[in-house]
């Protein structure tokens, strides 16, 4: 999670190449690069002191439009493991790997996850049929034809992430396999408890109060897993500019469904949502974190805290709506 001194990194790289990469001595941590903050957090949780994690897109950064720095290329070329999300989340990935002579192992954490195509999540709320999801057609048409990469928004997927990272760490440093697996087991237990908590939180909300708007179309996996409907005025990437037609369609949808909460996320311009909230009479319900952790003093410094924060923020806004509509 911290940005290391490039000289120290280079020194580590030289030391490693001198020693030969096959037999890493026990006291040298495995150099690992994680593409963004959530993966960095997971790698540190599992790797502990046996890994040295460099995170490319740090807290609050937007991995969609990150531009690699020379330090990043240096870190990647020195790394044994490069942990990435995959599903084209890191568009800059191939260029960076080409530029940095990376010779280590690339770990794609979404391996084994069933990707959700853009715009289809809310139509298929898996396994939660008892909570009356009415028709949730996404009224904003985005023809990406690719999959939504924000898979970590569902905790069971995060367990897959942890398993993939653990397997890669074990392969890279078999001497510490026991420790990695122990930590992974503990972490997965925590994740499963988290999953239960989120389910309980969302299920405590009335079924007709589970439609919200965010400024970033990144919660399809959360929608699919926990049965909350998300609408977004802007599509999945911060790169595209919203059109008047999309905004008008969203406002109409919000009026039809009586959506009463709008959420800001931590990495996108909020002015447009303020307008939409104003126009529909919806309330502004705090900040959801879609894809980047907050700084360590913020509300979402780790993956678990981020997911908990999101669920609590949803509960507060939607629960408050419920009381309001009853009174």
């Amino acid at each position: 999670m911290r940005y290391r001194n490039p000289l120290a990194l280079a020194a580590t790289g030289v030391a490693l190449s001198l020693l030969g990469s096959a037999a890493v001595p026990a006291q040298t941590p495995t150099p690992v690069v994680a593409s963004f903050s959530i993966l960095g957090d997971m790698a540190e949780r599992i790797g502990g002191p046996q890994v040295d994690v460099v995170t490319l897109v740090g807290p609050g950064g937007d991995a969609h439009v990150y531009q690699p720095t020379p330090q990043a290329a240096q870190a990647v070329s020195d790394a044994e493991l490069f942990i990435v999300n995959g599903l084209q989340f890191e568009g800059w990935l191939d260029r960076l790997v080409d530029a940095s002579d990376f010779t280590g192992q690339r770990v794609v954490v979404t391996d084994g996850i069933e990707p959700i195509a853009f715009g289809e999540a809310a139509d298929a709320p898996a396994g939660h049929g008892d909570h009356g999801h009415d028709d949730h057609g996404h009224d904003h048409g985005h023809d990406h034809g690719a999959s939504d990469p924000h898979a970590w928004q569902s905790v069971p997927n995060a367990v897959t992430y942890v398993e993939n990272i653990t397997a890669a760490l074990v392969a890279a440093d078999p001497a510490h396999a026991d420790r990695f697996e122990q930590r992974a087991q503990r972490y997965i237990a925590e994740l499963e408890a988290l999953d239960e908590r989120i389910r309980a939180t969302i299920e405590s909300l009335p079924a007709d109060q589970r439609t919200v708007v965010t400024s970033h179309d990144a919660f399809q996996y959360f929608a699919d897993e926990y049965g909350v409907n998300f609408f977004s005025p802007q599509g999945v990437s911060t790169e595209s500019e919203a059109s008047a037609g999309d905004v008008a369609a969203l406002i109409e949808t919000m009026r039809e469904r009586n959506v009463s909460a709008v959420f800001f996320e931590n990495i996108t311009d909020t002015r447009l949502l303020e307008r939409i909230a104003d126009e529909t009479g919806a309330r502004i319900g705090g900040t959801l974190y879609p894809g980047a952790l907050s700084e360590s003093d913020g509300p979402a410094p780790s993956y678990i805290e981020m997911m908990e924060h999101n669920a609590e923020t949803l509960e507060q806004a939607l629960g408050a709506d419920h009381e309001e509509s009853q009174s």
């Binding site: 740090g58 990150y66 911060t238 059109s243 406002i251 996108t268 307008r275």
Partner: protein, 289 residues
């Protein structure tokens, strides 16, 4: 039915009305300034100035967050600094104004990118800098309308010296001490309008609504007064059509507006009676000596 397609979006949605008011204000304020930029063969100056503003607004954003005041002030300071210093350099040294302006805006742009980059990968900023006409709040609208009013009044008051500056700057300098004042006031207007336009359309698109209608208008009339009138008309029509296209066909609104203005320009280029392509090809009667 067509009338409904034109009226309904604005009647139903407040954000469309706000976008329209914002764009009309920019058309009214920025386009006359664009006309004089074009007449003085300074069309590209607008582009340079918009780049000069960008870092100032970025610094404002980094200091105070998404604050209208801080970003406006930052942009204004950076823009004025570049405009005044380049004007000063060109009057005090052997360098031409275009060269000094180019040098300064590039320095300003690089400085801004440097400052933004050192603050981490805060890409949000790019979003902020490109503005969106669909997200104009009360503060932004008041700012846009104030700038437009100030701009219209100033152009009206300085109309004669401005036209003279375009036609014969040497003459103006010889008969009036207003020459330097006119020049600097005019540069201030350019910066002011670009800063205002950047809240709605972003820095780069704001130049479009400044220059394109003026460039289109010159194919239709020849007197400066009529040119201002027709350019403002074209700008307003482009704003409205662009917003409607954005509404009905889901195009991003900023580029849609500028592309409609571009369409007006292309059309004028072909059929405009003053120097258009087609009218020039039609043989006219020679004047007999």
């Amino acid at each position: 039915m067509i009338i409904e397609a034109v009226i309904q979006p604005f009647a139903e949605f407040g954000f469309m009305r706000r976008a329209l008011v914002g764009c009309l204000a920019i058309s009214l304020g920025a386009t006359p300034v664009g006309v004089f930029l074009m007449l003085r063969r300074m069309s590209l100056t607008g582009d340079a100035m918009s780049h000069a503003i960008l870092p100032g607004a970025a610094i404002g954003y980094l200091i105070a967050g998404l604050s209208l005041g801080a970003m406006t002030l930052g942009g204004l300071i950076a823009g004025m600094l570049v405009a005044l210093v380049s004007a000063f350099i060109s009057r005090a040294t052997a360098a031409g104004e275009d060269a000094s302006l180019a040098a300064l805006y590039l320095i300003s742009l690089a400085l801004g990118v440097l400052i933004v980059s050192t603050r981490g990968s805060n890409v949000d900023l790019m979003h902020v800098l490109f503005g969106t006409v669909l997200a104009l709040d009360d503060g932004a609208l008041v700012l846009l309308c104030s700038i437009a009013s100030l701009s219209v009044i100033t152009v009206a008051v300085l109309f004669r010296p401005l036209v003279l500056e375009c036609a014969d700057p040497q003459f103006l300098r010889s008969v009036s001490r207003l020459s330097a004042l006119t020049h600097f006031t005019f540069l201030t207007l350019v910066v002011l309008n670009l800063v205002g336009g950047f809240h709605a359309l972003g820095t780069l698109m704001a130049v479009g609504i400044m220059i394109l209608p003026a460039a289109a208008g010159r194919f239709w009339v020849s007197s400066p007064g009529a040119l201002v009138g027709i350019a403002v008309l074209i700008a307003m029509l482009s704003s409205m059509s662009g917003l409607l296209l954005s509404y009905h066909y889901s195009f991003p609104s900023g580029p849609a507006i500028i592309l409609v203005a571009g369409l007006f320009y292309t059309l004028s280029l072909v059929i405009g009676p003053f120097g258009g392509v087609l009218p020039q090809m039609i043989p006219r009667k020679h004047l007999k000596a």
